[in-house]
């Protein structure tokens, strides 16, 4: 078995270094090596979006990124979305709009929605649906998720 690789990265604003096997995905490294279990695995092949994180300003499905590829990158996970003890407006909107039932898809949706609103502060319903099309939710039928993102957009513009 090949040895482990030393990876230096920045996660949620903090310098993080870790050792990982070449075959470990970023998702595995986050969850099993670093202990950030907020990022979820639903499929491990890029098709559910539960493992969505932001890497150097773009959202990626972390199950399709190797841990070693995180070298020198800036990564934001669900654990880095709130501002200390204050929830991000998207997190607040998800709660207020009952946009989660089981909640397993929620971290991925929140990370993806934040990236959308960072780039497009006033998206149409269609733009939201398009952006979130790689995030599967089996519980909600998406209605309340779309409304939560719309609501968050308003809140963020007002702020």
């Amino acid at each position: 078995m090949p040895g482990k690789t030393y990876v230096q990265t920045n996660i949620n604003g903090e310098h993080v270094d870790f050792l990982c096997e070449p075959r470990q995905s970023l998702l595995e490294c986050l969850r099993d090596v670093i202990g950030l279990t907020g990022t979820k695995e639903g499929c491990n092949d890029g098709n559910c979006g539960a493992c969505t994180v932001e890497m150097d300003g773009r959202i990626v499905t972390s199950c399709l990124v190797l841990g070693v590829e995180a070298e020198g990158k800036e990564i934001t996970t669900i654990e880095g979305i709130a501002d200390g003890s204050t929830l991000h407006p998207i997190q607040q909107s998800f709660l207020e709009n009952a946009a989660l039932q089981c909640g397993i898809c929620t971290p991925g949706f929140i990370v993806a929605s934040k990236s959308l609103l960072d780039q497009n502060p006033d998206p149409t319903e269609h733009e939201i649906r398009f952006w979130l099309a790689n995030n599967l939710c089996r519980c909600t039928g998406y209605d309340k998720i779309i409304r939560a993102v719309q609501d968050a957009a308003v809140k963020m513009q007002e702020a």
């Binding site: 096997e21 075959r23 470990q24 969850r31 099993d32 202990g35 950030l36 279990t37 907020g38 990022t39 979820k40 695995e41 639903g42 499929c43 491990n44 092949d45 890029g46 098709n47 559910c48 539960a50 996970t77 669900i78 654990e79 979305i81 709130a82 929830l87 997190q91 998800f94 709660l95 207020e96 009952a98 989660l100 039932q101 089981c102 909640g103 397993i104 898809c105 929620t106 971290p107 929140i110 319903e125 269609h126 939201i128 649906r129 398009f130 979130l132 099309a133 790689n134 995030n135 599967l136 939710c137 089996r138 519980c139 909600t140 039928g141 998406y142 209605d143 309340k144 998720i145 779309i146």
Partner: protein, 753 residues
């Protein structure tokens, strides 16, 4: 694409107002779930934790001649390997089936059937070890669909399985586990009276619950002999009891700790990994975690059955249904127990019929053992029944909602399988559909169509327990045993808050393990807000009575004179005597000790739920693609404790139904294996496939519950497939009789027209 809205998308037609019940507070577990802090099945960690992996059969049907685990055991980092031989043996019937489904013994009965499992230092080592296990299979011919499996020459799955034919055991092995009938009146005579008789055949494919969180379980068989299990389950007690049976140990030897659950829809009631993790932990003396891959989930856990149905309905010109016959055959998967029984109870339930006959067949096939999926059996049946209803209405020239109204089941209607309906809200649902702006809006386009359909689900009661303790600061803590899949911590706490006249925020609910609370049945059957809510109501009444007694004791007045209103205790005997809930709570210690309330209930006054859909589609006649333009769900909730989460159930169920209608299916190869084992190819609806899902909550109080609650979780998945089929028929002028109605099928129907 999006319709312009000149109406309220989400309406509650309320029957009674309360202080807390019927409001929309934030869920108590919300902060944890939006920050990534909530711990789900796979998130559990423990010192010395080993990772496991499961070897699964590559064949749909094979005899297991031998299993050689020596190479796997020799791999560096491997700590234990188990097979079915490690389970206590013996028993017969269901317990053997359950055990064999968890780890196959003599036969692999479906591709993905678990054969052996490994515990190792890392998941990758465990996977490697699994690939080193040698299994000598004698490959047998599989049979993977219900109609082929019922034929006399079909390959037999179980040599010991004889058909239970209307209560009589046959004497020859068969894949038909049972055939039952429900009879009312005289169908032959009824069909003779009809002016119009329509008979059609329908098929549906296997589909999966599709929860986003794969199954995960960790077990520790401790050195004192106690088995601890941390898992993602719909029922910690059900998981405990199933493990006890399979492992042949007393239930008290097991403690199940439910972690957060990432969706279930019925699919996380049965155990798969728990007993295997337990065996591995017993061998290693350390905790062992097993987590399924998505392929394992699709191939190794219960889907809902493929099915065949034949429906015959006769009606007079005036719209009276004179007779109905439903023939339903459903795949059980590898072991008996398809949901055909429930399908048979629901298929004709919306109709007040004088003459009806239902035939049900439970049939084993070489696919994973089916598990519950949201109103199990009912959507398969409704896809058939509700299309024939539509066709009959059309044939006699009646509006489909009026036709249903004319024949509507109501209080006092005897259902075909026997029970008589108590107060139900079906007519109110139909009225709300008929008067909804959606039903009266014009369609605009040549390939657009509108369809309606309804569905019934009976819901269940069963056991639930609840403990409530008063804190010195005037809040209460609430413990319950129902795992929370979609906001039930809130809906249960709200019922306690209502009784105690406290604001919702003062009730802190926790889902606890099987050592901490009385027996509580699964979160399933749409029972949780009904039955565990009722337990919370009773436990809160217990607290309320004790608090009133205490106030009376402190004031030295008769308890009958003390009232609790808006969180203030008052005595009718002396207007000066008044004390807030918090003030009394603060003096419990000095006035005789703390106060707790408990309740264990098994409510019988279950209220069935009717749901209806109105759906507009646009079909592209070239490609056959169906787009959902507008979708409205109407449902009788009895009382919506937390309307947002009731709407969530209605919308989520509708969208699962849309996926079932238009895309989802197991593609089975000739060798009996599933070909589309990823979420790319097993295509569930995405946000881009859908419009907003509008809702109307109708509230016809269930007389069997203190706040009128019925169940809401399951009914919403029943009407979508027939409603969409009826809409497609309306759009293209021809009817589809098979699910899914994917682009290829619709394009073919257009071409064949």
């Amino acid at each position: 694409m999006a319709t312009t809205r000149d109406y309220e998308p989400n309406v509650v037609l309320s029957n009674q107002d309360y202080n807390v019940v019927g409001t929309r507070p934030l869920r108590p577990d919300g902060a944890d779930k939006v920050t990534g802090r909530a711990l789900y099945g796979a998130d559990f960690a423990a010192a010395g934790l080993l990772s496991g992996s499961v070897l699964r059969s590559p064949h749909a049907h094979a005899r297991i001649k031998s299993i050689d685990t020596s190479k796997a055991e020799a791999l560096d980092g491997v700590r234990a390997v188990v097979t079915s031989a490690d389970f206590p043996q013996g028993g017969e019937g269901p317990v053997v089936w359950q055990r064999d489904n968890v780890l196959a013994s003599d036969k692999a009965l479906y591709r993905g059937h678990a054969i052996a499992a490994v515990a190792a230092a890392s998941p990758h080592i465990a996977e490697e070890a699994v690939s080193l296990i040698d299994v000598d299979y004698e490959v047998l011919t599989p049979v993977t669909d219900v109609q082929s499996s019922m034929k006399g020459d079909a390959p037999i799955l179980h040599d010991s399985l004889m058909t239970d034919e209307l209560g009589e055991k046959a004497d020859k092995a068969s894949n038909v586990a049972s055939h039952f009938q429900h009879v009312k009146g005289d169908v032959k005579a009824g069909f003779k009276e009809a002016d119009v008789v329509i008979e059609r055949e329908f098929t549906t494919k296997t589909v999966h619950q599709g929860y986003i969180e794969p199954q995960a379980a960790t077990a520790l068989w401790n050195n004192d002999g106690r088995l601890h299990i941390w898992c993602s389950t719909q029922g910690s007690f059900a998981a405990r009891d199933a493990c006890a049976k399979i492992l042949d140990i007393p239930v008290s030897q097991i403690r199940v700790v439910p972690l957060e659950i990432g969706g279930g829809f019925g699919g996380k009631i049965d155990v798969y990994l728990e007993p295997v993790a337990a065996l591995l932990s017993k061998k290693t003396g350390t905790p062992v975690k097993l987590v399924m891959s998505r392929a394992d989930v699709l191939q190794g856990t219960g889907p809902t059955p493929g099915s065949y149905a034949k429906i015959k309905i006769g009606a007079k010109k005036d719209g009276t249904i004179t007779a109905a016959h439903a023939y339903l055959a459903m795949e059980a998967g590898a072991y008996p127990g398809s949901p055909v029984g429930a399908g048979a109870m629901c298929v004709l339930a919306p109709y007040d019929l004088e003459n009806a006959l239902v035939d049900g067949y439970d049939v084993v096939v070489n696919k994973p053992k089916t598990a519950a999926y949201r109103a199990p059996g009912a959507p398969n049946a409704a896809f058939a029944g509700e299309q024939v209803i539509d066709e009959v209405a059309k044939a006699i020239g009646m509006d489909p909602i009026d036709f249903r109204m004319k024949n509507a089941a109501k209080e006092g209607t005897r259902q075909v399988h026997g029970p008589t309906f108590p107060r139900v809200g079906y007519e109110e649902v139909l009225e709300a559909m008929k008067s909804h702006p959606h039903y009266n809006a014009p369609l605009d386009g040549p390939n657009q169509g509108r369809g309606v359909a309804v569905g019934f689900w009976f819901n269940i009661g069963f056991d639930s327990a609840c403990n409530i303790a008063v804190n010195a600061d005037g809040t209460v803590t609430l413990q319950e045993g129902s795992t929370d899949i979609g906001g039930t911590r809130a809906s249960i706490a709200m019922q306690a808050a209502e009784v105690l006249t406290l604001p919702y925020e003062k009730v802190h609910p926790t889902v606890v393990d099987t050592d901490t609370i009385g027996f509580t049945a699964v979160t399933g059957g749409s029972r949780t807000t009904f039955a565990t809510g009722w337990a919370a109501y009773e436990a809160a009444q217990d607290v309320r009575t004790k608090m009133i007694d205490r106030a009376a004791q402190i004031w030295e007045v008769d308890a009958d004179t003390v009232e609790l209103e808006d969180a203030v205790f008052k005595s009718k005997s002396d207007p000066e005597l008044s004390m807030t809930f918090a003030e009394l709570a603060g003096q419990l210690g000095r006035s005789g000790g703390g106060i707790t309330g408990t309740a264990a209930v098994s409510p019988s006054g279950v209220g069935g739920a009717f749901a209806g859909n109105i759906v507009d589609v646009e079909v592209d006649p070239e490609t056959g693609k169906t787009e959902i333009l507008r979708f409205t769900v109407v449902q009788d909730a009895g009382k919506a404790i937390h309307p947002s989460y009731v709407e969530g159930q209605m919308q989520g169920g509708a969208v699962q139904g849309i996926g079932w209608a238009l895309n989802e299916e197991y593609y089975m190869s000739d060798s009996g294996t599933m070909d589309n084992v990823s979420l790319l190819d097993y295509r569930m609806p995405t946000s881009l496939d859908l419009p907003m899902i509008d809702t109307v909550i109708v509230e016809v109080a269930n007389p069997g519950h203190p706040y009128g609650v019925r169940g809401v979780g399951e009914a919403p998945i029943i009407p979508p497939t027939p409603a969409i089929a009826n809409a497609i028929e309306n759009a293209i002028g021809t009817r589809l009789f098979a699910l899914p109605m994917n682009p290829a099928a619709v394009a073919k129907a257009v071409m064949d027209k």
